[in-house]
């Protein structure tokens, strides 16, 4: 149940049921999310300062999006000037074809990849396999997940669904000469030995991009394990893949975003490594890649960009704070969503990428409690966007900007709201209904089993509040 799918709505209910029934999984996520929330809170001790910083983060991202086409042109221009070759990919297939072509052109054999959600989004590993290449994930979590033929369950901590015993078993079985141990340092040491060898031998390194600075043509990449630096400096060819929304206007925009990203994501003041990549090895330099490529990925982003409200989706800096604070994500884990981006941001991104006919049901797995919106470092109004997508899911308006709109509409539900509206816009009728409900409270038909399976039946009071108020008025006059 850990594969990504283009039809996450299919069997969503089954995945939810299985996830909720998996006590070990729930324990893992509860522990990890609590830990991450506490760490984040400790990094932002002053609520007012945090709100000011979030204002700044949102403004920087909004300003970049407002001039997105121009900034992308400028980025391309500055990158070329720096010796970075820029490629435009409209779809996931385009991106995979470009990357495969680049690897073939340099006769690449051994490929390592730093952690990148954009490459997960386009299914790069599968495409490379189909083209006869194997690509080794070099982030420890991604490495564990890849070795187990799984997919990441969190955008920052891909193997968060796994406990150390299961990783110990996996390493002992799959890595030669590895004794079983649950000692975390030893386990990491084992992984590192494998990865070190792979870095030394790699001829192509693939990475993501956290921010691309249009002003200077600089690619910024943050990470904690050094694998990002290794993947982008050791192999002769470096291919960076980024969603085209990740461009920012100028270098001066970076500090505030860096004040927000690691703290929101992992509760770190700063990541162990901050890579600023401004081109391939120069003539007078003794190391670094000989070629640097930047693949700019659209994959549906232009469509999201076209709608004023939905455009806020593209502010995202992929910190994962929304999922860390989502009570639904905490209970389900990432795999139940069946999507590359799980949790609140996934519930907003995925229906827009795959269409509401394939991913509209995801938007229902939300109580609109607002915890995600409250912590988003760039103030994406996630609950509003989830509700908006619910609306587009049942909207019969042919001008709806979201693909698959109206495909979540069910006759029975539409009828219920029609009747509901008829009653609630006619106060005398409403009073009649509430009068009957309160008088016949012992004989009402039972509520849906979905409610009563876990709760005592609801029973109306013997008189409605409106009736009480009328009696009160009568007594007074």
């Amino acid at each position: 149940m850990s594969g990504f799918t283009n039809h996450p709505d299919q069997d969503f209910g089954v995945r939810i049921h299985d996830a909720l029934g998996d006590a070990e999984l729930r324990e893992s996520f509860h522990g990890a999310m609590t830990f991450l929330r506490d760490r984040r809170r400790a990094q932002f001790p002053d609520p007012e300062a945090l709100e000011t910083l979030r204002d700044s983060g949102a403004a920087i991202r909004d300003r970049a999006l407002a001039q997105l086409p121009d900034l992308l042109e400028q980025l391309e221009d500055r990158c070329r000037h720096n010796g970075i070759q820029v490629h435009w990919a409209e779809t996931a297939e385009d991106a995979n074809r470009i990357i495969t072509g680049l690897i073939r052109a340099v006769n690449g054999k051994r490929i390592v990849k730093g952690k990148s959600m954009a490459t997960e989004e386009i299914g790069l590993n599968t495409a490379l396999e189909a083209a006869g290449f194997t690509c080794l994930e070099s982030d420890m979590g991604e490495y564990i997940v890849q070795q187990a033929h799984e997919t990441p369950s969190h955008i920052i901590m891909p193997a968060i669904h796994r406990n150390k015993a299961s990783i110990a078993r996996q390493f002992a079985e799959q890595i030669p000469d590895t004794p079983y141990t649950e000692d975390v340092d030893e386990l990491i040491g084992t992984g590192r030995r494998v990865l070190r060898r792979a870095f030394a031998e790699a001829d192509v390194g693939i990475s993501g991009v956290n921010f691309a600075v249009a002003e200077t043509g600089t690619l910024c990449l943050v990470e904690n394990e050094g694998n990002g630096r290794m993947s982008t400096t050791v192999p002769d060819t470096h291919i960076a893949v980024m969603g085209l929304e990740k461009v920012i206007e100028k270098l001066a925009d970076l500090p505030d975003l860096m004040r927000l990203l690691p703290k929101s994501a992992t509760g770190q003041a700063i990541t162990t490594y901050v890579n600023m990549i401004s081109g391939p090895r120069r003539d007078d330099e003794s190391d670094g890649p000989r070629q640097v490529h930047l693949v700019l990925l659209d994959n549906g982003r232009s469509r999201i960009y076209a709608d004023r409200q939905l455009r806020a989706t593209l502010r995202c800096i992929r910190c994962g704070a929304c999922m860390n604070h989502c009570p639904v994500y905490e209970r389900l884990g990432g795999h139940a969503y069946g999507t590359v981006y799980p949790g609140p941001i996934g519930q907003v991104v995925m229906p827009q990428l795959f269409g509401l006919d394939h991913a509209g049901k995801l938007t229902q797995a939300c109580s609109l409690n607002g915890a995600c919106g409250e912590v988003c470092p760039v103030r994406i109004p996630l609950p509003d966007l989830i509700r908006r997508l619910r609306h587009e899911g049942v909207s019969t308006d042919p001008a709806s900007p979201v693909r698959g709109h109206g495909r979540q509409r069910r006759f029975s539900e539409a009828l219920i709201w029609r009747v509901w509206c008829f009653i609630h816009t006619r106060p005398p009728l409403y009073r009649l209904v509430t009068r009957v409900a309160t008088r016949a409270r012992h004989w009402l038909p039972p509520l849906p089993r979905a409610w009563t399976r876990h709760r005592a039946p609801l029973q109306p009071a013997d008189r409605s509040f409106q009736e009480m108020m009328r009696h009160r008025e009568d007594r007074r006059s």
Partner: protein
């Protein structure tokens, strides 16, 4: 956001928006709200022509149906006096969502005006009226559940707690993970009933772990959810709307 202008001429009249859940399930909380306001010398106008705020269809994406109900609320509560709502989520609907829901119609200005004079009951009692109360009850330990809309959309968590803290005999506590949703979420509780139940189960455990004698909340949806599960489990933790509790503790007669 409404202002809390203490120097402006004293407020003499307010509307009460009763909410449909209070109307049908917790009428005593509605009456207590009226009485708490009247005791402060405020005249409470209760338009008979009110039903619901439109939140159920709105959160389900049925904007047209929600809009029809919202228009009716804006028209019926048109006098320029505060609108008091004894529920964080319904108050949030009026204050935060009506302006955008009605932005494109003839009631756009009226909706913004209504939003600006909408208050959650306890916010109004604490911040605007700045009530001072004497406790008349026996010592009791209560656990307060603040709804997500009261906490986040309205930012009034402190108001409910501050009012409770005025009562000498009341020991106030919050459950562990107080900021986590109880799993109600309106139609979410039925559409995603398994997730909702998992969330409610955790909330029930947390409120019981406090060892409190009573559970309070200022939102009926959460109360119906948590209390419904506690009763199903056979737990002995009576639940009450905050307004009703406050009214009884401060010397009000039982309605």
């Amino acid at each position: 956001m409404p202002g809390y202008c203490m120097n402006s001429p004293a407020i003499q009249r307010v509307y009460l928006f009763g909410t449909c859940l209070i109307d049908v399930f917790h009428p005593a909380a509605g009456l207590a709200s009226v009485q708490l306001l009247e005791r402060e010398g405020i005249e409470v106008v209760f338009p008979e022509e009110q039903t619901c705020c439109g939140q159920p269809p709105y959160n389900s994406g049925y904007d047209e149906e929600a809009r029809a109900v919202a228009r009716q609320v804006v028209r019926r509560f048109s006098e320029s006096i505060p609108v008091i709502v004894p529920s964080g989520s319904c108050a949030g609907m009026l204050r935060q969502h009506y302006p955008s829901l009605l932005a494109d119609g003839p009631l756009a200005d009226a909706a913004r005006d209504l939003a600006a004079r909408t208050y959650e009951l306890h916010e109004f009692l604490h911040r605007v009226l700045q009530v001072r109360w004497q406790d008349h009850g026996d010592p009791v330990k209560i656990v307060m559940h603040t709804s997500c809309s009261a906490r986040r959309e309205m930012g009034v968590r402190e108001d409910g707690l501050a009012l409770l803290r005025q009562l000498e005999g009341v020991e106030v506590c919050e459950p562990e993970s107080a900021e986590t949703c109880c799993g109600f979420g309106g139609t979410f509780a039925v559409k995603m009933s398994e997730i909702s139940a998992a969330m409610a189960t955790d909330k029930c455990r947390a409120v019981q772990a406090t060892g409190a004698d009573q559970l309070l909340s200022s939102d009926c949806g959460c109360l119906l959810n948590i209390d419904g599960m506690l009763r199903k489990q056979g737990a002995h933790l009576p639940a009450e709307h905050l307004a009703e509790f406050l009214w009884k503790r401060t010397g009000g007669d039982t309605p």
